[in-house]
Amino acid sequence: MEFVNTRGPESGEPDLRVKIGSLELANPVMTASGTFGYASEFEELMNLQKLGAVIVKGISLEPRPGNPPPRIVETACGMLNAIGLQNVGVDRFITEKMPYLHGLNVPVIVNILGGSIEEYREITKRLEGVPGVAGIEVNISCPNVKEGGVAFGGDPKMAAAVTTAVKEVCSVPVIVKLSPNVTDIKEMAYAVQEGGADSISLINTLIGMAIDLKKKRPELANVIGGLSGPAIKPVALRMVFDASQVVSIPLIGIGGIESAEDALEFMLAGASAVQVGTANFVNPRASEDVVDGIREYVLEEKLDSVREMIGGLRLDWIR
């Protein structure tokens, strides 16, 4: 099978390639939806070509204006956001954003959000065949919109149904992005695998809240928001590990990843690839730094491939 966007392994170059269903990536590092705009924002500050894949801001059928400000607030080692999935809508995305993204020659995964199964299906149909679209990430887990998002993300039957509906109308791999705001992540992961997902990415943000004591009011206009950043990493690691116990499709780990070390921990826990999110705001080069760091690690540890790390967690010392 051919690897897309391949630069290795040439002589002496470490093998960083990983597979997400039929999608083959030059390395396991992607940018998390909603934290990397439409990629052009970062072109002055990093080498976009070094990314395993770019995942763009969530797209809905119709344009969405988003929530009133304040939309973000910093919390301990993290942040809360209530952007409300502001986006230009799928049609403008295809005409205005996709040509640039296609030109990057890096796999582009489009994150989609719908208010109903029919909407998810319609967005996917419109993206089918658009040059450059290498995968679809189905967001059933955004805490910041009333309809859609959360309802699908919390109910295994609905999550599976959305997955199946999207799968039916597209030819590229489908990644389903899970919400951590559930009682049993294993049940959700299993359900979307059964629904036909090619891969599962996790986690989206944790529902949270911050209060301004002086003003005695919530910090966010939306009252609640999604928690992201280093603060959520332990939760995300556990959920990736849990999911890896029940599914056989590749997992993509997300949550507080800032460095190669963070990324490799997720791979040990069972992730085939990772996404860098909030870290992009702090260090616009974060995702590139993670790629470089993984490369160094694979060289230093003399691994045949970074794939050796996937699910390599040692549990044998536990008696």
Partner: protein
Amino acid sequence: MPQYQEKTIVTRVEHLSDENVRLTLKAPQIASACKPGQFVMIRAALGKDPLLRRPFSIHQADSSGHIQVYFKIVGRGTDLLAHLKVGEEVSVLGPLGKAFTIDKDRPVCLVGGGLGIAPMLYLAKEISRSKTGSTNGDLVILGGRTKGEVEPVMADFDEIGIRTLATTDDGSYGTKGFVTELLKSSDLPANTQVYACGPEPMMGAVSLWCEEQKLACQVSVESVMACGMGACLGCSRPVGDGKYVHVCLDGPVFDARELKWNS
């Protein structure tokens, strides 16, 4: 637009008052590319807490590769920055955002309130540099709550040679009262370009008055920011009809008429 994530070196820390600090950084790349009205995002800590960078307008930039920010200590990030020592390294991202538009043939009036004074020094310098004719009709009005906010920077403005007036809320320096009162009594020529930066109510009042007087007015506004570069969509500001602009990309400098002011 060139943008850099630069490791800068602290070359000077000035505590202008209990709360107000001026930081000089050796930042050759940013200094060579920036314009008045643009801002930078500064990382206050090396670790994970506080996590996000903090936005500051560029107070001055020079040809020897230095930039300055002038800020007020309001929380943890600014407190950490205030305790930096000469020689320490800080990560700065910039220049970001839209700059002020300068028309070298028009008289100008610059209005800075509180820490809104910060971008005005750089702007005043660029205006005086770009003007070939007289700056006699030009005016700078600086206002603060007390003396400490205004007095320490007066000498820098005086050097430029544009007439500069000061006001303080408590009358401890300059005339007592608000900048808007001075502005209204200052009899500006009809084609004056007004520039304003300061607290929201002040900018609202200035822009309203400019609209009545049919004077062009550019304002520099603030918003909570995570990325400063258009990636997070966090820095939204309503412009009416359920629409938003993003302060880091569409601004921070706007034509005052583009924005919605709560009066």
